[in-house]
């Protein structure tokens, strides 16, 4: 996928997150993009590693800086949390370049934004880490307790209760995603 084509999809994700009342800071975008790529198989081509607040892509972080430099997005201050990402003056121009691409991945983007848009950073961190654990750490048999312990090993500031809730939520989203994709 070309850089601008990928940026059009990220922009669409941002717009859909905002429609779903998301705060839409960088962490919200990072975790939603992780779900979009890993669970919904949208080929964004980012490499996610366990880092800040769960799965994190340095490439996506750089891409957001680039989009800001190109006025595709802008940061808007909304106390009391960090800034919110909003479409910039070049947003429409970019979307007009890639109508087919946007149409092709519309249902996946709308789904992720609807499922995750209402979550705060703390919840997104645990849900995205849960997905990471299920896909990369403890695969196969659904051992809830083992997976919850694994989440706590990676992120000791997440409580056991939060970890269990996150795993449950992750499963719900994964099941719905499978239904959406027909797999």
């Amino acid at each position: 996928m070309k850089r601008l084509q990928r940026e059009a999809l990220i922009l669409s994700l941002i717009e859909n997150l905002l429609k779903n009342e998301s705060w839409c800071g960088e962490t919200h975008i990072q975790k939603s993009a992780y779900f979009l790529q890993e669970l919904l198989h949208v080929p964004l081509g980012f490499e996610f590693i366990l880092y800040k607040y769960g799965p994190f892509s340095f490439d996506l972080s750089d891409e957001l800086v680039s989009m800001q430099a190109d006025d595709i997005i802008l940061l808007k201050l909304r106390p009391p949390y960090g800034p919110s990402v909003q479409p910039g003056t070049m947003a429409e121009r970019l979307k007009n370049l890639y109508p087919k691409t946007l149409k092709r991945y519309e249902k996946e983007i709308v789904f992720v934004a609807r499922e995750l848009g209402g979550n705060g950073v703390g919840d997104l961190e645990s849900i995205a880490t849960a997905l990471y654990v299920v896909r990369h750490k403890i695969k196969g048999k659904d051992d809830l307790q083992k997976r919850a312990n694994c989440i706590r090993e990676i992120k000791p500031h997440i409580s056991l209760e939060q970890a269990l809730t996150a795993l449950q939520r992750q499963k719900e989203i994964s099941d719905k995603a499978s239904a959406l994709l027909g797999v």
Partner: protein, 440 residues
């Protein structure tokens, strides 16, 4: 009894101290090679004072990283919410030493003249970060680490020196929260000692005042803090500041912007870097830069300068032309630079003009260059006097206004410059509108 603590004079930090074990590391072959690697490549061709080397920068990063470590692990400075990530008291001495050695070694894999075109010059799958990790974990260095008291693990040093960004490509293990903080001390986008030292050192040697900021105050106010104070926010720890350090942080982030826009992205500096890359690529041929430790360590600026001189003095040498561009200052000239007006017409304006210029004047006479800022977040937690946490950007009137550095240039061989300017003056608008996007 021999002296155990040794002082080195430094123009930025005045004295840098290291003990006898650490001096063994400094005396090792990979570290000594950095005496012959210019920190700013060929920048001295336009800023004559910028002849400093990676060697003194590495010492400076070690000094600053140590100061940061001592401040953030001081028992009076630890926020209760993050206490759990710190290792037990008796292990901190080990990690302090690992951090110092990682800071000292973080640039070992740099190419001659600190050249940044890793992808063109190294074989596939290699980068200067991977080279750095390989050297740190080499038999030669493992022997040095094993003789330090207590012995250090090369793997730990490599992880902290490289950081999580390149972890997978370099083949390093997962980072825990403590290791993440340690690597942030060195390579962190906002408060990394690497960045702080190069801004201070490069501005001093280049003779520009832009890179200065109050690093004493900044380091003194650094703390490990949870990301946010609200119930909604993550409690994950990261490097943040006390409220009193916010002006020093503003100065740091503006210094970075000024140094990138005025020095690092100066078009003449950028084109010399391209010419050097062209020369090295052709000189190394298919074999590329050697990754075997002995061969790599033998390759430094002195060797490359000799190659350039030899090529310049032999008119039949196939690299004669490329060498003259550097040695005789026959560099290409800027014919186009990225600008907001053109971006509005065509989001890939510079690339479009580059391709049109190649068609018109021939690919060999045209070069394209882009620098895009990576990371460098202005967002970090700040602890207020009442111990609550707020985001930096809400407390500072200027942080959100620091521009993002994104430069693009199209360069042309001097003999075509006037013709190219006339051509571009006439066809500019037509070229920009000519590009059609495809969605395959």
């Amino acid at each position: 009894m021999g002296k155990h603590l040794h002082e080195i004079r430094d123009p930025v930090h005045v004295f840098i101290r290291l003990d006898t074990d650490e001096r063994e590391v400094l005396d090792s072959r990979p570290l000594q090679r950095l005496r012959n690697i210019h920190q700013l490549g060929l920048t001295y061709l336009l800023y004559p004072g910028a002849t400093h080397r990676r060697f003194e920068h590495s010492l400076g990063v070690m000094e600053l990283a140590t100061r940061i470590f001592d401040v953030i692990t001081d028992m009076y400075n630890i926020c209760p919410d993050v206490q759990h990530i710190l290792p037990p008291e008796d292990q901190r001495k080990y990690w302090r030493r690992v951090l110092r050695m990682a800071a000292l070694c973080h640039d070992l894999g740099h190419l001659p003249f600190s050249h940044s075109a890793d992808h063109k010059l190294f074989p596939d799958g290699w980068s200067h970060e991977r080279m750095t990790a390989e050297i740190i974990r080499s038999k030669e260095m493992e022997r040095v680490w094993s003789e330090i008291t207590p012995p250090l693990r090369g793997e730990d040093i490599a992880k902290i020196a490289i950081g999580p960004r390149e972890r997978q490509k370099v083949g390093l293990g997962q980072f825990n929260l403590w290791e993440t903080i340690l690597s942030e001390i060195i390579v962190g986008d906002t408060f990394g000692a690497d960045r702080m030292d190069y801004l201070l050192r490069d501005s001093l040697h280049a003779g520009v005042a832009y890179g200065k900021f109050d690093h004493y105050r900044l380091v003194d106010t650094l703390r490990i803090l949870p990301k946010g104070g609200s119930a909604e926010d993550s409690k994950e720890p990261t490097l943040g500041l006390l409220e009193g350090g916010i002006q020093s942080a503003e100065a740091l982030l503006w210094a970075r912007y000024f140094m990138y826009s005025q020095v690092y992205c100066h078009p003449v500096r950028r084109i010399y870097d391209i010419h050097l890359g062209d020369f090295l690529e052709k000189k190394m041929g298919k074999n590329k830069i050697p990754t075997k430790s002995d061969d790599f360590l033998a390759l430094d600026d002195n060797k490359v300068l000799v190659w350039i001189r030899e090529s310049v003095s032999n008119q039949k040498d196939q690299l004669n032309e490329l060498a003259k561009r550097i040695f005789d200052r026959m560099h290409f000239k800027r014919v186009y630079g990225r600008n907001p007006e053109d971006q509005r017409i065509n989001p890939q304006a510079a690339d479009t003009i580059y391709k049109a210029a190649c068609k018109k004047f021939g690919k060999d006479s045209i070069r394209y260059d882009a620098y895009k800022q990576k990371g460098g977040s202005q967002l970090f937690p700040v602890q207020l006097k009442d111990d609550t946490i707020q985001q930096s950007i809400e407390l500072s009137a200027t942080l959100e206004k620091v521009p993002i550095v994104f430069t693009e240039y199209v360069f042309i061989e001097d003999k075509h410059l006037n013709a190219a300017k006339a051509w571009l003056g006439k066809k500019h608008s037509e070229i920009l509108k000519s590009r059609k996007e495809t969605e395959e």
